[in-house]
């Protein structure tokens, strides 16, 4: 079963003290799929991503990634993780940052390709501290995908990126997915949701709805994805 699914989350809950960040979430992400985790700030998207890559352990339920029950350090070689904040070493150059993340993931090739993909090859010698927010975000993405992972976890990757580059990002994601890479991307921007093959809507730590963008529209009873989301969220609230 897990062979067809890159990620298999079964009835997962996660509490931080009295606060329940996730509550009985079940979802599956197929291999080679672009899966969008949608929801407002504080919905539980980042917690879910951290559970998938083993940074957190579930209070209840199971997380299976690439056939391995998480947490499991060995399988992390196949995973690329881009954190919400552009987590980079500000004192190093763009290339040095990417080379570092390549090295800790056991890959020494692919640095040039990764830098070209995010259009930072010309700026590879620039020290990260001198870059704009958008450039840092691009560098952070290059660090996440430099070792050609099977699964790419992107926590709000397009924040602070201009619309033109955002389009290029999504084209790259699609190309990688076509090549077999599974991509889980979190966002609270609804126009990005349409670019995903399937969506999971999360609010208050629960999965409200799951399906293709078209299915979500029909479930929410609106042609507008944002309105459909609000309708589904309101229905659960009441």
């Amino acid at each position: 079963m897990s062979e067809t699914y890159a990620v298999d989350i079964q009835d997962v809950s996660k509490s931080f003290g009295a606060y329940k960040a996730l509550n009985g979430v079940t979802l599956r992400v197929r291999r080679g799929e672009i899966y969008g985790l949608l929801g407002p700030n504080g919905a539980g998207k980042t917690t879910l991503i951290r559970l998938i890559c083993g940074l957190l352990e579930a209070s209840a339920g199971t997380v299976t990634m690439l056939g391995q029950r998480m947490p499991n350090v060995a399988v992390l070689r196949q995973v690329g993780y881009m954190t919400q904040q552009a987590a980079l070493y500000p004192g190093l150059s763009v290339e040095e940052n990417v080379a570092f993340f390549a090295a800790i993931n056991g890959a020494d090739a692919g640095i040039k390709a990764a830098l070209e993909l995010v259009q930072l090859y010309d700026r590879r010698k620039s020290v990260v501290a001198t870059l704009s927010g958008g450039m840092r975000q691009r560098c952070s993405l290059a660090c996440a995908l430099v070792h050609r992972p099977e699964l790419l976890l992107l926590d709000e990757p397009t924040v602070g990126i201009d619309p033109q580059l955002r389009v290029q990002f999504w084209e790259s994601f699609r190309r990688m997915a076509a090549g077999g890479t599974t991509i889980i991307v979190s966002s609270h921007v609804m126009d990005e949701a349409d670019r995903c093959q399937r969506l999971g809507l999360i609010q208050y730590g629960r999965l409200l709805a799951e399906g293709t963008p078209a299915e979500i529209r029909s479930q929410g009873g609106s042609q507008n994805l944002e309105e459909a989301f609000l309708a589904l969220a309101g229905r659960k609230d009441s």
């Binding site: 951290r50 890559c53 083993g54 940074l55 957190l56 352990e57 350090v73 060995a74 992390l76 070689r77 995973v79 993780y81 954190t83 904040q85 552009a86 987590a87 980079l88 070493y89 500000p90 993340f101 800790i104 993931n105 056991g106 660090c143 976890l153």
Partner: protein, 366 residues
């Protein structure tokens, strides 16, 4: 100048402290702890050093001087035989011993006495009470030798150091290690905390890196820097400051390296308990000040109140400082059991701290 705006800044500042209990504790608890420690250390210490008296005088006057020495408030005394004296200095049980030679009474009658004063010599200032006690004893001698003045010409020898051995020589040995320990600790704790606050630690944790690999990688990087710093400190201390050194330079370097490794791992370990650089910096007085006071750098551990001696015995710096002094002041080498013990204990602390740092690494995300 707007009073309203200034008040806003002041209020903002105090509001922030209201929630930061650790900073408040540092502001109000740390001074009491540090001053209390210092007070207990200075007032509670047994300050009179133990001095051996070997009265070999065949006449009556040596006994009078020996008796005066026994009743001196400046020293504590014990009777020994002159043959045992050097051994007692080496094992650290005496700071010095005084030999009143067999012809002491004759010397007094002839107007010039030459008592032998043998001093351990590694701690400057410890010879002062010995000489003062002897001088006072000479006054009681003078009253017994009626009708003439007695010239007092003590013959002073030092086991370690010597007449030119000064305060810098004594403190220098300890400070070479302390400077490295302190600076390496500060740099490590702040950089490891940066790893956490800039989010890169989260990324490292989501990679195949194992916790031990992160800790050991950090340790090697900072240790490389610390070793270069150690060489610089050592060359400056020996070549420019000309601090007294009886020992092997490579042994001093080895001891510095052990201290640097301990400092790196202490920094990594303690960074787990700080949420901001501000909090990390607060560890400096808490970690460094008690160690400076209690590790024998300024006050010899043997003169501390008993309870503080127990505390000193569990501080890594106590052993490091003792080891540095053994090498530099006493010329100890690898055949010296006390030096091996010191180095072994500091190495043990390193291993313990590596394990503790590795064990607590995942704490913040879990």
């Amino acid at each position: 100048m707007s009073g309203h705006r200034i008040r806003a800044i002041t209020r903002r500042l105090l509001q922030g402290f209201r929630r930061d209990h650790r900073t408040l504790a540092l502001l109000f608890v740390a001074p009491i702890v540090i001053l209390g420690l210092l007070g207990y250390l200075l007032r509670g210490s047994s300050s009179a050093p133990l001095v051996g008296i070997a009265n070999e005088d065949t006449g009556p006057l040596g006994a009078i001087v020996a008796d005066a020495l026994r009743h001196s408030s400046r020293i504590k005394s014990t009777d020994i035989s002159a043959a045992d004296g050097d051994a007692r200095l080496k094992d650290g049980s005496l700071v010095g011993y005084i030999v009143l030679p067999s012809n002491f009474s004759q010397q007094a009658q002839s107007g010039s006495v030459v008592p032998q004063v043998h001093l351990e010599g590694s701690q400057p200032g410890e010879d002062a009470p010995v000489m003062q006690a002897l001088q006072q004893a000479m006054i009681s001698l003078a009253s017994q030798v009626a009708g003439r003045s007695v010239n007092f010409q003590p013959q002073v020898t030092y086991l370690y150091g010597g007449r030119n051995y000064d305060t810098l020589d004594y403190f220098g040995a300890a400070f070479i290690g302390l400077v490295v320990f302190f600076l390496v600790f500060v740099i490590t704790i702040v950089s490891f905390l940066n790893e956490r606050t800039q989010g890169t630690l989260e990324r490292l944790m989501a990679s195949p890196l194992r916790r031990g690999e992160i800790v050991v990688g950090y340790m090697l990087g900072f240790t490389a820097l610390a070793l270069i710093q150690s060489i610089e400190v050592l060359v400056f201390a020996l070549a420019v400051l000309r601090i007294h050194n009886q020992g092997n330079v490579f042994l001093i370097f080895g001891m510095e390296a052990l201290m640097a490794i301990a400092a790196v791992n202490l920094g990594i370990f303690l960074s787990m308990f700080a949420r901001s650089e501000f909090q990390a910096v607060q560890f400096i007085p808490l970690v460094v000040v008690p160690q400076v006071l209690l590790s024998g750098i300024i006050f010899p551990v043997s003169t501390e109140p008993t309870i503080l001696q127990w505390l000193s015995d569990v501080l890594p710096l106590t052993y490091a400082v003792d080891g540095m002094r053994d090498i530099m002041v006493k010329g100890a080498d690898l055949t010296s059991p006390p030096l091996l013990l010191d180095a072994g204990v500091v190495a043990g602390f390193c291993v313990l701290l590596i394990a503790a740092g590795t064990a607590t690494l995942r704490r913040r995300l879990g």
